[in-house]
Amino acid sequence: MVRRIAILTLTSALALACNKDKGEGGGEKGGEGKGEGKVTAETGTAGEKSGAGAAGIRIGVLTDMSGLYADLSGEGSVEAAKMAVEEAGGKVAGKTIEVISADHRNKPDVGSAVARRWLENEGVDVIVDVPTSSVALAVNELTRAQNKVFIASGPASADLTGKACSPNTVHWTYDTWALANGTGGEVVRSGGKTWFFITADYAFGQALERDVTKVVTEAGGKVLGGVKHPLNNTDFSSFLMQAQGSKAQVIGLANAGGDTINTIKQAAEFGLGKSGQKLAGLLVFISDVHALGLDVAGGLMLTTAFYWDHDDGTREWSKKFAARHDGKMPTMVQAGVYAGVRHYLKAVAEAGDESDGRKVVEAMKKIPTDDPLFGKGTIDANGRKRHPVYLYQVKTKDESKAPWDYYKLVREIPADQAFNDPAKTGCSLVAGAAAPADAKGAADAKGDAKGAADAKGDAKGDAKSGTK
């Protein structure tokens, strides 16, 4: 019995001792942990639970480092964040800025565990990127509960500014509504009236399918059917056969990254284009086009908020980015990380205090945005970053004159039309918002998020940095 207890105690002591040291080296550095800033902030005694009360500002880039979205975000997003920090001189309001990163592997449990640890235990003030909507929704709840900031430059789900909206979150770059309105609308207008969906079966795919369906039906089209596939699927042959069997004019791909690449590749193998059916890639990144090659991808329509070759400003920044990222041009997600961090730092300088997330986000909404990548823009009351969005078409091999010369502009969608009207999103933060079908959902989400913050009712976030 004594021996038993001795063994247990020894093990626990070991565990605690090792956990103690985590305060210093700390943080889940994903991948090989390259190039994280050195910890300049003193984190004080073991397992420091205070917020950034210590001397610095910590930016956490939570992304997919090794999975199907790694190319469109991943290490590139970390680089983009660092570029923004370097531009600001590494300091804001007299405090040093540090960038750490981690891999959420597209799993909500991994992502939320990392985010929780970052926010509660490692003094992270703002989480950026998160290119997977299911993880983003979980992080959204955590930052709301802990009163920190979430700059969602990676995920697509419009719910982040809709029924799950939060005063701590800014949804940058793009969302499913913009995609539906852009690509979806354009394809329907040019004759694609009947649709069949191939959908990634999680938050993002479901939201995208829902939003595009709305656009299609409102334009007088019809959705003949759809099929759902697991995230990170490799074999789309049976889904493509069903799509073919439906005889729909348009096969809408409500998926992204590696899934989209595989679907398009296999569609080509199975000769899908030959019978007159068109593929509509509802979310396509330049990294996908690069992987597919122009023979396969040429002619695809896509909606994006950023293209590296759009103007001098984007070109200059993108070349700098490519120099740090293996010569690869940035995707809109990576561009969003840069712009988002840049604006966040401006807001912190204005608000003076980075530990109150709500205050910082208010400052972000107050200051109009301006950067060389997205131009001039604003942030709506529901957290939606508003900027123009563009409809591009992928060039064919002959049309492309230089490496990464992939897109030709079809149309610019101005900022006021690019995203959903805040009053219609069902977000409870917007005064006079239409009562959404699941108001309960929003209320629940906010209620639950009281979580660790001990805030009651609508207490403005007093900086609950978690110290007891």
Partner: protein, 316 residues
């Protein structure tokens, strides 16, 4: 001082240390360790004491997680009721699966449990209430007994500590009882046990259901702690993980799984910065343990550390 007195002091010291722990280390990490320690303990009840290797224990762990999450979020039950519901669901599942699987032995039993676990996984993947890949998010921590808010990590820690200790105590009681003795007999030589008149299937089924229920306790608690129930908890790598924990710690010992769980969770945490190396190291230790350290850490220590004046007990 008598041996019993020494035991009591050791126990007291341990309890004090456990109570002080959250002020030294990150409470969420500690709670994760405890949930997995309980899970491994429950698994070991079946493997170490009944001699049945189940390769699908994640189904109890994960399904209870979903059940508890659903109860807390959608029905608004208090945490102890939600977790209790999770335990019931896991036990019921255990009864059904156990009934069908108990007839088989050895490899076949392992394969059948794996097959069932996969079916449960696919069910969880498809059915809407689990949220598929999204999982059940924003699970409220709620108020214990409607009175004490568990939103705070510290209050939650003591609750989880109580639950875990309770679960371990139940395991201990089950093992050190006439029931436990019969189980040991069945493990050693089933035909003989049958010939002595014991209803072996009956005993094995009870052990299975108990193991399932305690795994459910661990899973439900975890869902409340992390406020999330996800597919990962019903996938077979989780089943594999608990096997690893038990193997490394020591099959057939009470403390073994606890040590194993602590080490595995700790290593995952520490090595998180090394990314993919965690799995490499886990795989390596798995192989190493199977080849050389079949007794696991605690088992090996028990073997080498000479017993002093402890009363003759069947296992340490």
């Amino acid at each position: 001082m008598t041996s019993a007195g020494r035991q009591r002091i050791a126990l007291l010291v341990a309890v004090v240390l456990l109570c002080a722990a959250p002020y030294v280390a990150y409470p969420i990490f500690l709670m994760k360790v405890m949930c997995f320690a309980l899970f491994a303990c429950a698994f070991n009840l079946l493997l170490g004491y009944a001699g049945l290797l189940s390769f699908g224990h994640a189904m109890f762990f994960g399904v209870a997680g979903y059940a508890s999450a659903h109860a807390a979020k959608v029905w608004g039950l208090t945490p102890e009721l939600s977790i209790g519901f999770g335990v019931l669901v896991a036990a019921a599942l255990g009864a059904v699966v156990g009934r069908l699987a108990i007839r088989l032995a050895g490899i076949y039993f392992a394969m059948i449990t794996l097959a069932f676990a996969q079916m449960i996984y696919f069910y969880c993947l498809q059915t809407p209430f689990t949220g598929g890949e999204n999982g059940i998010q924003a699970v409220p921590r709620g108020k214990l007994l409607g009175l004490i808010s568990l939103a705070d990590n510290y209050s939650l820690y003591y609750f989880v500590l109580a639950v875990t200790l309770g679960g371990i105590a139940v395991t201990y009681r089950a093992v050190h009882s006439p029931f436990g003795e019969v189980l040991a007999a069945i493990r050693e030589n089933e035909p003989r046990a049958v010939s002595l008149g014991y209803h072996t299937d009956h005993h094995k089924l009870i052990a299975f259901v108990l193991s399932a229920a305690l795994s459910g306790l661990a899973g439900g608690t975890k869902a409340i702690v992390f406020q999330l129930a996800s597919l990962t908890d019903v996938q077979w790598p989780t089943s594999g993980e608990v096997v690893l924990m038990t193997l490394v710690g020591g099959i057939g010992t009470i403390t073994g799984p606890l040590v194993g769980a602590t080490l595995v969770v700790m290593s995952e945490d520490l090595l998180a910065s090394l990314g993919g190396w965690i799995s490499v190291i886990q795989g390596f230790f798995f192989v190493l343990c199977v080849l050389l350290f079949r007794r696991g850490i605690v088992g090996s220590l028990a073997h080498w550390w000479p017993r002093r004046s402890s009363p003759p007990s069947s296992s340490s």
